[in-house]
Symmetry: C2
């Protein structure tokens, strides 16, 4: 059986060039003992993957040049050489960026029996949702009544953060760019703030208007002027969960940090980076809390979908152009 | 009785001009019920006072223009209208920047009965020592064996941090400028690193050489390239206690922050600002632990002393020129 997959031909500087992604094909070997073969139906592309596109080991190993790229994916078992999985099982795994995945069964997780579309396990009930929940609750220690600010608030992670914070009874301000994203935030009873055509002072003023009682929790996905503006509005004892700094991921030159970090002292504030993988033991707790809300339609989640394996690089690159609302996905022919 | 005292005539921009400090004199009123009169012997000048020299309320109220300035001081009670204090008692209080202080007795603390020079209560056993202990233990959660980096390591706070960390069994690297400061650090078995004539990359390299196993705890007093270099060397789970950013206090333009704050994510690190006043309930614990070490001569502390009330502004301004080793003090005639 043929597997089609993407490889990276070189490590990019700055925004990756489309030509660095190469679609290849190979004949899969016979299934070994303990392995399963999966036909992927949905692939995930995520900002963190940019970090794997360099020769430097950060918190995940880099993609190996010329080898199949990896990422979260959903699919159906089409052949099994392991007692734990049967043909027809719907599963999630990390063998993305390809149409057929052949993996050891222990690296494959059956989808829970919850009435949600399967691709939800790449978004609201997957890594992005879990990232939102972890940062908000375990890192920023968000409490009911907090004033919460979220950057990239209409993204896969950000849109979950704002809704989880609203459900907790917080006053929530979301930063985004495009008008339809701001409108979506407003429809979620989130105070929308645009960063477009604003410097950090103007953004600070807009945040102050949207959250006159200051900011207790800042969920950081962006960096840059968003961080500087957020720091200027912190309340005493504020907590900043640093999930991402997408603003900097493709920077070719070092981009200066905020000029007002001393606000951490003035406001006795905490700023903490985290990687969701370290908190995965809490996934059942997350699922128990959030899955019923998703299943009952109480969480409004958007998806931006590209069709076909050959559009996976475009889907990935769209993430850095503000081109997605909610979770960016690739849908494969089944 | 006459009191001589300093007032601030205007709020400075950048490094305060000497002419903004005005020595004035007034006749003190009769002692009211519950008040004491104190002849000051030692005055403290501290970097945090720069924060009070602006019209903006930060974590302490600004100095009021034309009113006596304030700061920590040690003196002897010369007249008492309160049963709690007697003439001859040695006390600490906040009526500094003046020769005679007249205060409500409840704002005055008798010195503990420990065999140390009285000015130690402005330094190693006072606010700077308590700041060092709090940041290291309560904020950075320093553990034996940690690799600890300290900026402004020969200052009043920094020099206590390095010694407390050494006493805990840590590997300690101290950043300073002048050769005699680096030599002093070396005499304390601290790895000295100079920031002079180095950019942040060069400083990073020097820190890596001095601490090949990375940095678990960074005690931040400076900001600027020290912070950028420190961020580049963090170990996973590192903790940064942000005590001060003296680099920025006199900046007239916003100074850009570190370009590598995303290291907080990569290293899953925490960065937390604090104000020692919030932790003052731990002062007895600090005193119990540290006072015997000071009394037994196990803590090496240096003082830089200016003589005479009229040199208080110079003593203060010296703090921003790297002119002090250890605690900066003003000694008054007794």
């Amino acid at each position: 059986m043929q597997m089609r997959f993407y490889t990276l031909t070189d490590y990019p500087t700055g925004l990756p060039d489309r030509a660095l992604f190469k679609l290849e094909s190979q004949t899969l070997p016979e299934l070994a003992e303990g392995e399963v073969r999966i036909r992927n139906s949905w692939l995930s592309v995520d900002p963190y993957m940019r970090g794997r596109m360099s020769g430097i080991h950060t918190y995940v190993a880099p993609f190996e040049l010329g080898k199949p790229m990896e990422g979260a994916a959903i699919g159906e078992v089409i052949e099994s050489n392991d007692a734990r999985l049967n043909v027809g099982d719907k599963v999630s795994h990390m063998g993305g960026w390809r149409d057929i995945a052949q993996l050891p069964a222990q690296e494959v997780t059956p989808l829970p029996d919850i009435d949600v579309p399967e691709q939800a396990y790449l978004g609201v009930l997957g890594m992005p949702g879990m990232t939102a929940w972890t940062g908000l609750n375990l890192i920023a220690e968000c409490r009911p009544g907090d004033n919460v600010l979220v950057s990239a608030a209409s993204g896969a992670v950000g849109s979950m953060v704002v809704q989880l914070a609203k459900a907790k009874g917080c006053h929530v301000v979301g930063i985004a760019g495009a008008a339809h994203k701001l409108a979506w935030l407003e429809s979620l009873s989130v105070e929308p703030v645009s960063y477009r055509d604003r410097n950090s002072h103007e953004l600070s003023d807009a945040i102050r208007l949207a959250s006159p009682n200051g900011i207790d929790v800042y969920y950081e996905n962006v960096g840059g002027i968003c961080l500087e503006a957020a720091l200027s509005q912190l309340n005493e004892g504020a907590r900043i969960a640093v999930c991402g700094m997408i603003n900097d991921y493709n920077a070719e030159e070092p981009t200066p940090g905020p000029s007002n970090l001393a606000q951490l002292i003035m406001r006795k504030a905490k700023m903490q980076g985290f990687i969701v993988a370290d908190y995965w033991e809490h996934y059942p707790e997350f699922l128990k809390e959030v899955a019923p809300q998703v299943s009952a339609g109480k969480i409004d989640y958007k998806e931006t979908v590209k069709e076909g394996l050959e559009n996976t690089p475009e889907a990935f690159l769209t993430l850095f152009e503000g081109g997605n609302t909610g979770k960016m996905l690739v849908k494969l022919d089944s």
